[in-house]
């Protein structure tokens, strides 16, 4: 006996999708028969990660255009998080309360730092932002309500938040660097 939705799950996961409760019975079956799915996919060289926070994905190292897309996705998530923080709203409440988030003002390019980051990521044009949001929707990070320009984040977006929590120490300038940077200015 092999898992009932192995083919469907495999097809979705290999396309970079993160499965979660929103994927209905495919995720439900994977969640309930985790070990079987892991063994089956491991036999063909894929590492299935089942996160206890309610999602699953194939892990691997993102390269080339995938890495660039994920950078853009992370930038949008971070800009939204940063703006919500300014309003006193934390990630749990802002992302996972079930209310769609209007994104226009959250990723606006009116502040120099935000504009600069969006430009560097190639996201200054609204079309590019829309493309990135569609990509994120395909990956299962969010549901994009295009008609309302709003998003509803899904559990897998926690991976991107984890990126900030895990990498923040690495990217934070050491005190010596900070002095050097100041001196350079």
């Amino acid at each position: 006996m092999y898992p009932k939705f192995s083919q469907q799950a495999f097809d979705m996961l290999t396309k970079g999708r993160h499965l979660c409760a929103a994927d209905g019975e495919v995720y439900q079956d994977l969640h309930n028969n985790q070990a079987q799915y892991e063994a089956l996919f491991a036999a063909i060289g894929f590492k299935l990660v089942c996160d206890p926070r309610g999602f699953a994905y194939f892990t691997g190292e993102a390269e080339g255009s995938i890495a660039q897309r994920m950078e853009r996705a992370a930038l949008l998530v971070f800009l939204i998080t940063d703006r919500l923080s300014d309003k006193g709203i934390g990630v749990e409440e802002g992302f996972f309360s079930g209310r769609p988030i209007q994104i226009a003002d959250l990723v606006s390019d009116t502040e120099p730092r935000r504009a600069s980051l969006l430009r560097d990521a190639g996201l200054l044009a609204a079309d590019e932002r829309v493309n990135t949001l569609r990509y994120m929707a395909r990956c299962g990070f969010l549901v994009y309500h295009e008609d309302r320009d709003a998003v509803s984040f899904q559990a897998p977006v926690r991976r991107i938040i984890d990126l900030a929590l895990n990498a923040a120490e690495e990217v934070r300038p050491k005190s010596d660097d900070a002095i050097t940077e100041d001196a350079d200015e």
Binding site: M1, F10, A62, K87, V91, S116, V171
Partner: protein, 408 residues
């Protein structure tokens, strides 16, 4: 149980009298209550005794712990009145600490008076201790209520402050107001030790002599011990979820801010997304290959739960399965010339090598497809479905073309 509306109506009607009674250091006698009632000029024809009975029925006042002839305003009512008159905020724990020190001093004095059997001094100490304990109980309530009010206010006004500001406020509330009280009410804390000491003294004194009113002091001490702990618990339960949440939110906020700063200074590549956020997104041909392999594995593992009779292997061409390595004796290299020109290489293999296991033949076939024949292979436009050795194979037949001078 009385209808709360009726109780509130009663409280409202007799508020001036109840408030005046609440201000008294001790309970009020019937005579004193009558005076208060008269002073309030409520134009009430009912007797003082009848009003007292009604207020007691609604738990607005209760008999004093010290005397059956005296009445005190019930503690929750006094607390509510104090709150409504805006007297309370979160007092610093230092105030409570000072009251505990005072209780400790009074306990020492009481011990000395008992040892010398100085009855009037014992009574004075007893009354002073009751006052101090009641004051400390008020302070404990006041403190707890202050924290709860601050939490409520923070929840209501959360949209007006940034996460950093909320974090600072909540951490301050926790560290400066809740933690010091925790240290007092925990086992071994100053509050517990102070009351434990007093109760031990009362127990010792009442075992060998008349009570001298020490039983009522004991009741006050026990109540303080019980209720101060409940006050702390109420404050803790109000604050802790907010404290836990804001710490998590703040950690994310700080981390995100650091990430954005780093990206501003050194570009997005500094995040090293490829390493931290790996996502498998296979190329189209790899998906085809891996899907074929998954199907093969599925077939090899057994039949599907919903369709036990189906045993199927589907080979997707032109990029067919990367099948598991199988040991010799059959090598693709040796078979290229032999297979060249055959209209269906897979069927040929199965027909020609019946003694070879399925996996061996599939591995040779995959090897031929991927490594050996390159652009010399063509595939039929339509797939065929053939049953070979109990499995139904769906595939596009492959033909390897002969070249001049052999297939190499």
């Amino acid at each position: 149980m009385h209808n709360p509306k009726a109780s509130f109506r009663l409280l409202s009607r007799y508020y001036p009298v109840i408030a005046a009674a609440a201000e008294q250091e001790r309970g009020v006698s019937l005579t004193r209550f009558r005076e208060l009632l008269d002073a309030a000029r409520l134009q009430d024809s009912r007797s003082a005794s009848s009003v007292l009975d009604t207020l007691a029925e609604h738990n607005l006042i209760e008999r004093s712990a010290e005397s059956d002839d005296e009445w005190t305003v019930a503690l929750p009512i006094r607390q509510a009145m104090a709150y409504l008159s805006g007297r309370y905020g979160a007092t610093l724990p230092g105030a409570l600490q000072g009251m505990l020190a005072s209780i400790k001093d009074q306990t020492t004095r009481l011990r000395q008076h008992i040892a010398r059997d100085l009855r009037p001094e014992i009574e004075l100490s007893r009354q002073a201790l009751i006052r101090e304990i009641d004051k400390a109980l008020y302070a404990s309530y006041e403190h707890s209520h202050g924290i709860q009010s601050a939490v409520f206010e923070l929840k209501m006004a959360s949209r007006q402050r940034s996460l950093a500001e909320r974090h600072a406020q909540i951490i301050g509330l926790h560290d400066q107001y809740l933690e010091p009280i925790k240290a007092m009410v925990d086992t071994g804390g100053s509050m517990q030790e102070c009351i434990k000491d007093l109760l031990a003294l009362i127990r010792q004194a009442t075992a060998t002599r008349e009570s001298d009113g020490l039983e009522s002091l004991k009741a006050h001490a026990q109540r303080f011990q019980r209720e101060s702990l409940a006050h702390f618990e109420a404050a803790r339960q109000a604050l802790l979820p907010l404290y836990t949440k804001v710490r998590k939110d703040h950690a994310v906020s700080v981390a995100v801010s650091a990430m954005l700063s780093a990206a501003s200074a050194r570009g997005l590549s500094t995040w090293n997304v490829g390493q931290h956020l790996g996502v498998v997104r296979t190329r189209i041909e790899a998906v085809v290959t891996d899907t074929a392999l998954l199907r093969y594995l599925v077939g090899a593992l057994g039949s599907h739960g919903d369709a036990p009779q189906a045993r199927q292997r589907t080979l997707v061409t032109p990029r067919s399965a990367r099948l598991p390595p199988v040991s010799p004796p059959l090598f693709a290299d040796d078979l290229v010339d032999e297979i060249a020109g055959k209209s269906d290489a897979l069927a040929y293999l199965f027909d020609t090598y019946p003694e070879q296991p399925d996996e061996q033949l599939l591995a040779v076939y995959a090897d031929l497809l991927l490594e050996r024949v390159g652009n010399r292979a063509t595939f039929a436009e339509h797939t065929v479905a053939r049953v070979m050795r109990g499995y139904r194979y769906t595939y596009a037949p492959m033909t390897v073309h002969v070249v001049d001078g052999g297939s190499h």
